[in-house]
Symmetry: C2
Subunit: 496 residues, 2 copies
């Protein structure tokens, strides 16, 4: 193939974007993990300058013609999938006028900045004033994205995080979930109220926790020649596929948050490390979606990390690094990581109650974006749904209610469903693994974790963005997204 085809021209441009994005990713990670406070202004200006440059490259007027010309070229199946993703990236970059992008950035920053002090002050009226403008612009954005994609407004937002996923599908699976979840939560609480759990006795020195986290990452196959573990205020998986930067944070009075958080980020990290090397630099190489990404972190943290057999592998590492105590016995360790208790705060929620937090947000943000409700309606809906799903009273408690997340303040609508879609994908993948390997649980107990990693590598990691999300799930697990697997997983683990 000559190097002058439109397709190859596009590939060269994406290669360039990939390389420049590499610097953004590392500088962004450094900003969270290393940067001293006085470096922030210069760093933010540098990242913004590069952001503008990347936007210029992604909206080059020549791209429209190149994309059309490439469609007419003789391409293989993978190249065609890559071209689909190129067009998708181009459509997203071009859908919004610069004035809207800037207005959004301004309104979101203002709302988020004020929210940081309004939340502790429980100041809903103050927050509402800013949120109205954020929602107004998010609706405008949704309308424009809807126009360019042909999707409904909310679906156009959702599609950015979960390509191919539609709210009709989310309605179907979340509708099922909300039927049985409240009853299941009550049953689990009832069962657990009769169990004894021994609390670990701290303090747990930070250096020992770090060594334990590294040992867990090693057990989980993280490639330290292609990544690192550092610290940041808000843990995340950053860097680039060739050099994955995980972060965690430590509390000396408690080691499980950091350990389980590190296991969670390791799942994200192995997804990135497992992306196809020969595709890297092209859109087809990228991780498929936010929900799929979350499915990998939850495969590690929940499916595997909170598995009773895994507790037997983890327990000796905990003892080695933190010393021996009764709380570190495998059975107790697993009880500690599977405690279920309804609470106000999503980010503190356990595996069983977490989906309730997500359903609630989805049921509010979708009509909010579609214009069926207004910002003023949020608190009453929140209170009713918290009562219905978790039996908690949040009336008047905005700071632990509808003001608790940064997402809406920051204009992120359409993201919340990914958390629970990820949990469902993960349960469905493990169900598929068990169908193919009926002795999987015994072999996990025997330490043969590579069976899990090999399956995920073959079905998910190396597939990148080769397929849309629903196609990928179908091909990996043999069926469309099916919430029955998540239900079965929770029942087996928590009521079995």
């Amino acid at each position: 193939m000559s190097t002058s085809t439109a397709y190859q021209n596009l590939c060269a441009r994406h290669q360039r974007l990939h390389r420049l994005n590499h610097l953004q990713a590392i500088a962004g990670w450094d900003q969270s993990a290393n940067m001293p406070p006085k470096g922030n202004e210069a760093r933010s200006l540098a990242l913004a300058e590069m952001g503008g440059l990347l936007h210029e490259l992604a909206t080059d007027p020549q791209l429209a013609g190149l994309l059309d010309a490439a469609e007419a070229e003789p391409l293989g199946e993978e190249e065609r999938a890559n071209l689909r993703e190129m067009r998708r990236a181009w459509r997203e970059a071009n859908a919004l006028p610069q004035a809207l992008v800037e207005a959004k950035s301004l309104a979101n920053s203002r709302c988020e900045h004020a929210w940081r002090s309004q939340r502790p002050a429980n100041d809903w009226p103050g927050h509402l004033q800013n949120l109205r403008e954020v929602v107004r612009l998010a609706r405008e954005e949704a309308a424009l994205l809807s126009e360019s994609s042909g999707l409904s407004r909310y679906d156009a937002l959702l599609d950015r995080y979960e390509p191919g996923m539609r709210s009709s599908e989310v309605d179907r699976v979340f509708g099922d979930l909300r039927q049985w979840l409240p009853g299941l939560i009550r049953a689990v609480q009832d069962k657990q109220s009769r169990e004894t759990v021994i609390e670990p006795v701290g303090p747990f020195p930070q250096a020992a926790q770090r060594a334990l986290g590294l040992a867990a990452m090693k057990l989980l196959g993280f490639d330290f020649e292609a990544g690192r573990l550092d610290e940041s205020a808000h843990p995340f998986c950053g860097g680039v596929p060739e050099d994955v930067r995980l972060t965690t944070r430590y509390r000396e009075d408690s080691f499980l948050p950091s350990l389980m958080g590190t296991i969670h980020e390791t799942g994200h990290g192995r997804y990135e490390q497992g992306l196809r090397r020969d595709w890297l630099g092209q859109p087809i190489a990228n991780a498929r979606s936010m929900g799929l990404h979350e499915s990998q972190s939850l495969s590690f943290e929940m499916q595997l990390g909170s598995h009773p057999a895994f507790a037997r592998l983890l327990s000796p590492l905990v003892v080695q690094h933190l010393g021996d105590q009764p709380a570190f016995e495998p059975v107790n360790l697993q009880r500690l990581v599977t405690r279920v208790a309804p609470g106000f705060i999503r980010v503190d929620a356990d595996e069983v109650t977490y989906p309730a937090h997500v359903i609630l947000r989805y049921e509010i943000e979708r009509p909010l974006i579609e214009g069926e409700i207004e910002c003023e309606d949020i608190p009453a809906l929140w209170d009713a749904k918290m009562q219905e799903l978790l039996g908690l009273d949040t009336r008047g408690n905005y700071q632990d209610g509808c003001m608790q997340d940064v997402h809406w303040s920051a204009g992120l609508f359409g993201y919340f469903p990914c958390y629970t879609l990820g949990a469902m994908y993960a349960a469905q993948f493990f169900a598929a693994m068990r169908r193919e390997m009926p002795d999987l649980d015994a072999r996990i107990a025997a330490g043969e974790l590579h069976l899990v990693f090999d399956w995920l590598r073959e079905r998910i990691w190396t597939q990148g963005s080769r397929w849309t999300t629903p196609e990928l799930v179908q091909r990996a697990s043999g069926e469309a997204l099916n919430p029955a697997h998540f239900k079965a997983h929770l029942q087996a683990r928590y009521l079995g």
Copy 2:
């Protein structure tokens, strides 16, 4: 002033370069301090992509006209100095055709890569083959830079590192130095042979050494809200003025190399931290020269760090972090850091013999670039000059002789003088301080280090690139570069 002037257009372009260079600087630091091995290929490609982009911006054909138009605009004195530095940067970026830049890059990489194994094998004939091509291209580069700058060939190379410095001036000061240095070295050795020095007893754990290094940086006024200390194989001062990244390395059997190295890098770091904030982003804000930069690191490491009064401030910190032992008494500590012994290796040399290594290299690289000698002549010249200056026999010992440095392999000609110019500037600055503050040494002993920092801030750091190097030295110290101060410093410290 309207934003449409040519000068302001140029300022906006330099602001942009400054911001994009920020990402290069942080990613480059990360490559040395953090990056796992498998990240290297992607990082190198990302840095090269950005390097190409920065080169494009720096050679935009519109710049020539803008620079000419700005010359005709009514500008203040600082703006005119900034414009002078803009033109200088533009001239350097445009002086070399892309083909030469690429050929140099290839030849230098090849030579340096082979040198890594040729040096331990003492393989001069093998090295010579590659070095010939490196020198051929360096001469071509020097000829082109000479044409665009109007300077002699070697001066055109020197001017990139030490703007305004000429080899006639270097000849004058090095010519003086080489008259008295060999005799001074012998006299110091004779004196020191009658002194007792107690060797420290290790090991010195890395964490304790790191804490000691941080304490020394604090004592020296490093701003940790605008910088960090990390580790790398080859210590350096990187990052950006707003966020200075120093590195060091640790050997558990010896703490002084890391401690004194950290003090050295702290001098570089405070220069960067002390640059004018209101100028940042413009060429006038940049540190003036390599020699001036070295003058600051040597002001910290040698003038201050090896000062007998400073040893009294450092000693309690050493005891605090490494435990008490007789070797840590102030008098002994200062003796340890001021041992003088001629040796083969420049980077291991003490303050007194170091200039001999530099003079030798200067006296070889200048005629080499001017075409007066050839690569084949290097070993004989090296042997003769080592005998003459340091009384050492290097015949046949290429690996500890003319093959020891990376500079020539990497095509860096014109850089070596900066090391000793820096030592001379530092001595001259401290002589000026003592004229203005006759009780300076007593006040250093009393811990009033801010007197030194305030002087350097006012005369050097905040001056950025406002003046050429000779102008800056004249303004700071009241006279042109004068090697008598360096001589007086060495005599007072080592023979006093």
